[in-house]
Symmetry: C2
Subunit: 319 residues, 2 copies
């Protein structure tokens, strides 16, 4: 699946993933009204609204981009009905031949991570039958529990030819509270001797796990590093030369095209940049207001094209 | 809800939470057969099997214990149908007046953690209507993203009088890879000067968050500390004097009654010990084999009583 992702990035010339994170305040009123008229102001009504919203956006942009990243929390907040909309969104995007990165940030003790891994990437045994749950192509994984919380995901990825992105340095303002802490290095750490921040230690782990999991040019064990921390991006690019980097935090969270260059290799590969509300709620921004709420999906298309241009310029202009 | 939990622990004299983590290999064959006869070897069949299994166990033990802890991964592996079984289990346990701790280990950037918090503990706005999703009483939270990934949960807990348990030192063998790393302390850390392990730093954070969130005698911001690390339990008990400690790892993972004493305060409060397969799959252990698979729920009841006795003896026998 990492090979497919890289191929699609080359073909679309867009190292972009669109975050399908449908907060209700992004969903145009006419879509909400129609859904509530049909199902009432219920979880089912909400789920119908976010599904119709997603579908229109995907229909408008699927030819421009390699991948989407639905954030499961935005569906889980609407309970079972919301998760049905998540499932429909995953399935629909796969029909459109998009690579689907489930942003689930799961991670637990070994036996429990195994359940998440089979539920989101693999197959679970029911009697003598193998069944698939959510069936994304990639998922994001939290490393706080250490390697036995991550290895079950790796095992399923090996079987299924899928992949993960491990949280290394997240885009949010308080990510440094733990991730930037300087730790004493141990034997076996790269750069032994000096103290190093936790994100580097986790980056080293990602590189080590990834070495066992190579696709053609990149590993299918990738990393999440926020656009809001470009300097750390540069360091982590070096520490994990074979890891694809999933870069959130572009646009609404403050990351700019110029901040992104260090996440990429010289050939413009090695990173994929996420934008969520910057694309899916583009119609609410002044710049795209002319489209109006009715044509929100056209505004999203224009925003994808602008983002593609912004990144291409930044990569072309780097020293 | 922390007051209710403490009251129920006092009333049952059982600082015990039963982990409802229905791996299919624990579910007796007669239950699986019946479910597959009705729904086929499908996700719906699997979900029916784990729901009937849970229900029988809960019916057999609900009067002995204060709380249950369903691990959502064990349901999520069966996709939407599994999550419907999770929802039914949560609702049923609440009907039985059990405190429900959703073991979800979620945690993300602020806006996303907010979605998880409302989906699992609070209410989400749909049009002008407020709706509830999974509606557990407590959930577990992952701290890797720092305080802005945790605060949305705290906010919802304050509104809803619910609570969280933050992962501090998990029970699994590799938990030390990150959590035990020695970090340089900063101004504002307790015990400034010396290097300290990450779990202590997170423990300090839990204590600080918890100070704003006091119930009658304990805070509703608790912590997860594994029974498999008794020495760390002792230290963390001191660092977080007002935090209830949720202690996984007893029984199947290797933790023993004698290991638990340091997690408790002198009056026998302050900690609640989880056992999952040790209770729900008791009938598969030699000790309870006499019950047979047909009477698995009776075996679970006997295992709860034995666990209660084991902990009581350990607490009575401490120096």
């Amino acid at each position: 699946m990492i090979n497919k992702l890289v191929d699609k990035i080359k073909k679309t010339e867009a190292p972009i993933v669109v975050g399908l994170d449908p907060t209700m305040k992004f969903v145009p009123e006419h879509i909400q009204k129609k859904a509530y008229a049909e199902y009432g102001e219920t979880m089912k009504g909400a789920a119908e609204a976010i599904w119709q919203y997603n579908k229109a956006i995907v229909d408008s942009i699927y030819d421009l981009i390699p991948a989407v990243k639905p954030q499961i929390a935005m569906y889980e907040q609407f309970g079972i009905e919301g998760l049905i909309a998540f499932q429909k969104t995953v399935d629909y995007c796969k029909q459109k031949d998009l690579v689907v990165i489930g942003d689930i940030k799961r991670g637990d003790i070994g036996s429990t991570s195994e359940a998440y891994a089979v539920g989101h990437l693999g197959q679970v045994k029911v009697g003598s039958t193998m069944c698939r749950g959510f069936d994304e192509d990639f998922v994001t994984v939290n490393p706080y529990l250490g390697s036995d919380g991550v290895r079950p995901f790796i095992k399923v990825c090996q079987e299924e030819k899928k992949g993960i992105f491990v949280l290394v340095k997240t885009s949010n303002p308080s990510s440094g509270e733990l991730q930037d802490r300087l730790v004493r290095t141990l034997e076996g750490d790269g750069g032994q001797g000096a103290d190093r921040p936790i994100y580097e230690i986790v980056g080293e782990q990602v590189a080590a796990w990834g070495a066992e999991c190579m696709g053609e040019s990149y590993s299918y064990i990738g990393a999440v590093v926020g656009a809001t921390y470009p300097e750390q991006g540069r360091i982590l690019r070096d520490i994990m030369p074979k890891a694809y980097i999933l870069v959130p935090g572009y646009g609404a969270q403050g990351g700019k095209g110029a901040d992104l260059v260090h996440f990429f290799d010289r050939d413009g590969l090695g990173a994929i940049v996420n934008s969520s509300r910057g694309i899916i709620a583009a119609y609410q921004q002044e710049q795209y207001a002319k489209y109006g709420a009715e044509n929100f999906a056209d505004a999203s298309r224009a925003a994808v094209l602008a983002m593609k241009e912004d990144i291409a310029q930044a990569l072309a202009g780097r020293a």
